[in-house]
Amino acid sequence: MTSPSPDIDRRDPATVMRLSRLGSLHQCRLSFMRQLTRRMAAENWVFSRPVFDIDDNGVGHAVYTAQGPDHAYSLVAFAHDLPPEQRSDRVIAEAWDATFALFDGIPTADDIERLSQNVPLQEAGRVSEAELSLSRANRSVRLWAHVVDRLAAGQQPDLEQIYAVGYLMRTTAVYGSGKFGAADREKTADRPETNGPFQAEMLSVYLTRVFVRDLVQHMARAKGGEKTAQLDPEIANWLGIGNSTGLGMAPFIVNHPILFNNWIMAREEAIARVRALATATEADVARFRDVFRRSELSVSWWRSEHPIQIEKLTALTADLRAISDHLDQADLTQDRPWNRLILWSQTALSQEGQELLASLILEPYGDLVDGLAGCMADSNSAAHVIDGAMPVKAVRDLLRSSFGWALDLDWDAPEHCARAWYVSEEKLEPRLGERFDEPIAEYEQPLAPARDAALAHKALTGWAEDTPIAEFLLRHPEHRHTVRRAQMSRVAPYGEIRDNTIGADVLPIDMLRAKLSFFGATHFDPRSDRWVRICMYAGAPYPEDLTSETADLWVYPELLQ
């Protein structure tokens, strides 16, 4: 294989870290779901269902165990009979169709008893260090009823309905990292299988999908008895687990600049490596053309009713036609073919098409790219410690480097500070409010790094440039947060969003999509400017079909023959 030459740089953070581009990111080889499925296949994980104790009303519990080389992980699932008027995707909901915990190991009867007292309560209960994740899911009411009714009648569900919704259940929160008493990340961070980002949460959703398939079959049989049909495995394959994500996720990428940097930088490094390749083999090109064709199919099924997404999909569809036309004439084997393709895309396509292409060129090069997954965790525990000896001048330069564009903005102008992020006392739900219309300013969370950088930069005026920054911080503790971020940017060039996060027209869905694209989500369906539905694992093999052949490209659909 041609080795990459070093003179293609990673893309400039000033280009990549704009919200509109972050809001146009697509999944790629480095996404967390695919990291997990590739690993489980390569390591021959063994799956079992030690418990399935659910009555004819769909109430009860089940246990699904995934055995890896060194550790087992078990999804403990509780199924409930939820009255429709209580069904809500919001953090403030108090009851759900199904609730889950991912147990570290194989639970005993006592563990299950303890979990049965707590997991259905979610935030109102407590889990322990033996649990890695806490989550819940609600039905897609229409599709659930349709599938149960059809199967009970001995028939298969209507494919159009399956395509239209894509999932039988959607998670409305998946908590990890010590929340509600669960184990801190440190407990599992050193295990190979959980070192990567969100692997426990991705495993929890993978097993949840198996449970949901089993549960809908069970409910169909309870209704239809002997004549009940078995859900066609190919239809089961189409079904993913939906997810409903709101503002709870948006602060994450601001609050974890080094972690987010690591994700972005890994992808940018992957893109640079592939662009640097002098030539591509026919096999590589064939792989690329194949995933492109399958992406066209995927995009053709992508539905949303939200005006913003409709506009993006119109642009993406036009981009796909442009790419297709271009590929008809392009020679992808010679003369740094991938770099020429990316350069072409920068003027020919919208950001959606550009980012799709950037992800697709990685597909033939697992050997070159997949190892970067090992760089996506954040193990830099000392990066948050301020270097007080750093001179004022160096801090000013760092602020300018990330936020030069923000320093001269009129931050008092209403359009620039119209919004404020806060936490409601109602179940601690994160919210985004209108600063001038609601009494929330005093509760504002530190989620406006650009504004704060401008304020800090201004406050540094008049300080002698070689003064240690510790002196400034002693007099101005209000800028400590911002100076810390500025110093972190030395090791995290992609750690800052280069846009205003409190402006009148900020779209939190851009922040949500950025994170969700790294999860591996597709078919982003915004329901408002601050709430998005996605589907996870649609097309993925179930445990019984998980092999190295099926574990990776499942995200690219192929038409049933």
Binding site: R90, I92, S128, L247, V385, L432, E438, E478, R480
Partner: protein, 209 residues
């Protein structure tokens, strides 16, 4: 009831902010509280005791005037602010021990001594009266009881680190202290209003689609 260290850190951050400190100082307090808990010290109790002093309301009265000579201020020093300075200027330890006068809740200084130890690649020893502590950043050893208030604290590079405390992965804070922290933390939550519930977040109140 046991808590994860993440829960400790999150609550400590909100509580410190709720007590009136800047977010950047709240972040320091959160990491400091977590570190103490990891060292099998009830960091939540130490923080609760500190926050009840109410220093944040007039913080300039509770910070060292400078780093020349003994560190002292107009009034009792806040260990968060003083600790931040210690961590920021740990290089000063090479010129000799740092002496701090009239410090409240000296245990809260130890996590910052830990930063200093890591930054300088050395054990750092903290003494006040009979009490002494030594840390290399990752581990902590203490001898005798730490007073609630110290007339005089000395921090120096070097010293033995013997019989370090057992590291913990969970915390069991004193319930009264935990309640205090949550009371302070609550001040950072905006009161729920009907309008904020409808507009502030996504999704509907009824999702039966």
């Amino acid at each position: 009831m046991s808590f994860s260290l993440n829960e400790i850190e999150a609550t400590a951050k909100r509580a410190t902010r709720g007590a009136g400190y800047a977010w950047g100082v709240a972040e320091e307090a959160a990491k400091a509280t977590r570190w103490l808990c990891a060292q099998d010290v009830d960091g939540a109790a130490e923080l609760a005791r500190l926050l009840e002093y109410g220093f944040a309301g007039a913080v300039t009265g509770h910070i060292p005037a400078g780093t020349q000579g003994d560190w002292s201020g107009p009034g009792t020093l806040c260990p968060l602010m003083t600790g931040a300075l210690l961590s920021d200027r740990s290089d000063l330890l090479h010129a000799g021990p740092i002496r701090i006068r009239q410090l409240a809740a000296p245990m809260m200084l130890l996590p910052f001594a830990a930063h200093a130890a890591r930054n300088q690649g050395s054990v750092v020893t903290v003494t006040c009266g009979d009490f002494s502590a030594a840390t290399d950043g990752a581990q902590l050893a203490v001898a005798n009881d730490c007073p609630a208030h110290a007339d005089h604290v000395e921090i120096a590079l070097g010293g033995p680190l013997t019989a370090p405390r057992a590291r913990q992965t969970r915390a069991t804070p004193d319930p009264a202290a935990w309640k205090t922290l949550n009371r302070f933390a609550h001040r950072t939550f905006a009161p729920a209003t009907e309008e904020s519930r409808l507009l502030g977040a996504g999704a509907g109140l009824s999702d039966n689609d």
